[in-house]
């Protein structure tokens, strides 16, 4: 789960990281009022779960409160990478002497949290790691010991020469790690970490992703979820316990298992179609889930055909068949449905489907080919 910049900044502040003040506005009036309160220059920043906000015009400097109002007016409602800006953060502009990058994320290879720091801030760190790896210092945190003081120092020492700045940055790095762990994060980033002309180290941007598996035990973090910034269908899918990602195509896909779901999408494309979504109904085969899945898929007006690809293992095919029949009773489904079911209780499922007037396919290729064909019709 991604959280907004202003939320990540709250987490960072709670860990002691020096973060400039800031308040959230949902209207231009509010933005103006906040800017007036701070006086001086402010920055108006779109709060959306997307990179590239600056390039998209979602981050603007304002010399006056009136100008802040104007920027907020323009930014609110703006679309950035398909996401509508609902909130802006208004924060005093800082004098910047230098910009650095400090981030920590879960690293697969080392099976642990890994820091990356670079004296070149405000950059795409991943790009730097390819183009100029020497510009980055990396450190894997041994989960048995946590981040040790000399390791934080070692990272900070890569960023600055001045002992005072190194000391401040060491502290920020240690606090970032604490915040990362306390938040159950999979990624936490300060980009840029600035120094001011007077020698202060401050985090002026903040980014954090939370490990979804942590949310059950961190209600204060879970409450930061902003469903307003995602398609309602994805909110509904999450509530129903489904993994769903909306895509641009017209072939609705309903599959059990993430790998098979992706492979099915790929096969749609292979046969010349375009998948309308990723949807994994998971291992359990509760008919209610199937109903919810069909409701979500059909809420997408682009969908022209719907395919089921179910490989029964834990999932019982008859449960899925019942779900499909149930859904067609409860909701009015316009696009044609084609079904491939195999595995556990396959025969029973085919019986149920036959009775309800559905014909079923035996191979994945056949069902996908048919669905693509129907979508084009």
């Amino acid at each position: 789960m991604d959280i907004h910049e202003y939320q990540a900044k709250e987490r960072f502040r709670a860990a002691g990281i020096p973060v400039p003040p800031g308040e959230i506005a949902t209207t231009a009036d509010e933005a103006e009022a906040i800017a007036s309160k701070y006086g001086g220059m402010v920055v108006v920043k779109a709060q959306v779960h997307s990179g590239g906000r600056g390039k998209a015009g979602g981050v603007k400097l304002a010399k006056t409160a009136a100008e802040a109002r104007e920027h907020a007016f323009n930014i609110l409602g703006m679309e950035i990478n398909g996401l509508t800006v609902q909130k802006v953060l208004v924060t005093p502009a800082e004098d910047i002497a230098t910009e650095a990058y400090v981030g920590v994320l879960v690293d697969r290879k080392n099976q642990a949290a890994t820091f990356m720091v670079s004296a070149a801030g405000g950059v795409d760190i991943e790009e730097v790691s390819h183009s100029n790896p020497d510009a980055i210092r990396k450190l894997t945190v041994d989960p048995r010991y946590g981040l040790l003081p000399h390791q934080a120092f070692w990272l900070a020492n890569f960023l600055y020469d001045d002992p005072g700045l190194i000391k401040q940055a060491s502290k920020v790095i240690a606090q970032l790690y604490d915040s990362f762990v306390e938040s159950g994060a999979s990624m936490a980033e300060i980009n840029p970490l600035i120094t001011t002309p007077s020698g202060e180290v401050k985090a002026i941007d903040a980014k954090m992703s939370i490990d979804d598996s942590e949310l059950f035990r961190r209600p204060e973090v879970a409450s930061m979820r902003d469903s307003s910034s995602e398609p309602p269908s994805e909110t509904k899918a999450r509530d129903a316990g489904l993994s769903y990602v909306k895509l641009d195509g017209n072939v609705g896909c309903c599959v059990n298992g993430a790998g098979l779901a992706m492979a099915t999408m790929d096969l749609v494309k292979y046969y010349g179609g375009a998948p309308a979504n990723f949807l994994d109904i998971g291992g359990s085969s509760n008919p209610d889930k199937v109903v919810a899945a069909l409701e979500i898929i059909t809420s997408d007006p682009n969908v022209k055909s719907i395919l089921f690809n179910i490989f029964g293992g834990i999932t019982r095919c008859d449960d899925v068949a019942n779900g499909i029949v149930e859904a067609t009773r409860r909701i009015d489904i316009k696009p044609p449905i084609v079904i491939r079911l195999t595995g556990t209780n396959e025969d029973l499922a085919l019986e149920i489907l036959k009775e309800a007037g559905f014909s079923a396919y035996t191979s994945m290729d056949a069902v996908v080919e048919k669905a693509v064909q129907l979508a084009k019709a």
Binding site: P143, F216, G259, F278, G313, T344, D365
Partner: protein, 294 residues
């Protein structure tokens, strides 16, 4: 022969009295897996009744289960909130392989659990994996037994049902398997492609290997290099997620393209550059294996 599990596998099921645990214990017993014990704290002394008069004693702790039954492998079906602790307990109990089926284990818990297992030389498979099956010998986890058969192909995959699809197609043309391993879809997994490739490479009965990857991370890329450098058996590959958009998590916690890393294109390229033919569709895996074994 086979890898990781075989007829000497003596299994203890952690969370044996739960809904999933009891269902799959029954299935594993039915397949012939030697389930020698179950563990559910507070239910020690009870007995799990399986098919055909088979049963397994239930213990309060792994410690007791291993001491009294000589178990050498554990499988974990406990809920996410307790799964990491169950893994730590298993790794501390004397078993050499811990198969963690549970999905949704916090990643930082797993970082600690993996370190703990490394300290003790214990292999973890998963978490968030379907387990593994060595046809005719032993099944540990949730893979459906009816789709496998004994034979010369080793299968390793990050996925569950996609693996079933591939294995089902192999079996349907008479290509059996030595072992099918689902390594799991989480970001931090205990056993990766390379571990399995190494084991398959050393396994006398494995003649060819199917490696099924997906978007996210660079495990497949590293595995591909490993294949070129060390594996003396044909390997064929498949990558799921060519149509997955960047930055979105596709079901599996680990299946996400971050920045430029982890795309299907990149992985397919790595496979091909290292001599691993890549199937365009799951159905093409069979043909590639047949060619390799021809």
């Amino acid at each position: 022969m086979a890898i990781f599990i075989d007829s000497d596998t003596r299994l203890v099921v952690q969370g044996i009295t739960g809904r999933d645990g009891s269902f799959h214990t029954y299935q594993m017993m039915e397949y012939g897996t030697q389930v020698v014990a179950g563990v559910t704290p507070g239910k020690g002394g009870q007995t799990f009744e399986g098919p055909d008069g088979k049963s397994a004693p239930i213990f309060n702790s792994m410690d007791e289960a291993v001491a009294q039954t000589g178990a050498n492998t554990s499988v974990i079906y406990v809920p996410p909130a307790f799964a990491a602790n169950a893994i730590l307990e298993a790794a501390d109990s004397g078993v050499s392989l811990v198969v963690a089926i549970t999905e949704g284990v916090p990643v930082l818990d797993m970082a600690r659990a993996h370190a703990f297992a490394r300290d003790r030389g214990v292999r973890i498979l998963g978490p968030n994996c379907p387990g593994l099956i060595s046809p005719g010998k032993s099944k540990v986890g949730i893979l459906p037994a009816q789709i496998v058969m004994e034979g010369p192909v080793g299968v390793v995959s990050r996925s569950g049902t996609l693996t079933y699809e591939a294995v089902f197609q192999l079996t349907s043309v008479g290509l059996g398997q030595t072992t099918c391993v689902g390594i799991g879809g989480d970001p931090l997994i205990g056993t990766n492609f390379i571990d399995c490739l190494e084991a398959f490479n050393q396994d006398g009965d494995t003649a060819a290997i199917v490696m099924i990857g997906e978007i996210g991370g660079t495990d497949e890329q590293e595995a591909a290099e490993y294949v070129r450098e060390h594996v003396r058996k044909p390997v064929v590959g498949f990558i799921a997620g060519r149509t997955a958009p960047p930055g979105r998590r596709m079901g599996h916690a680990g299946a996400i393209i971050s920045g430029s890393a982890g795309t299907a294109e990149d992985k397919i390229k790595a496979f091909e550059e290292n001599g691993i033919p890549v199937a365009k569709r799951p159905a093409d895996i069979v043909g590639l294996i047949q060619e390799a074994l021809a």
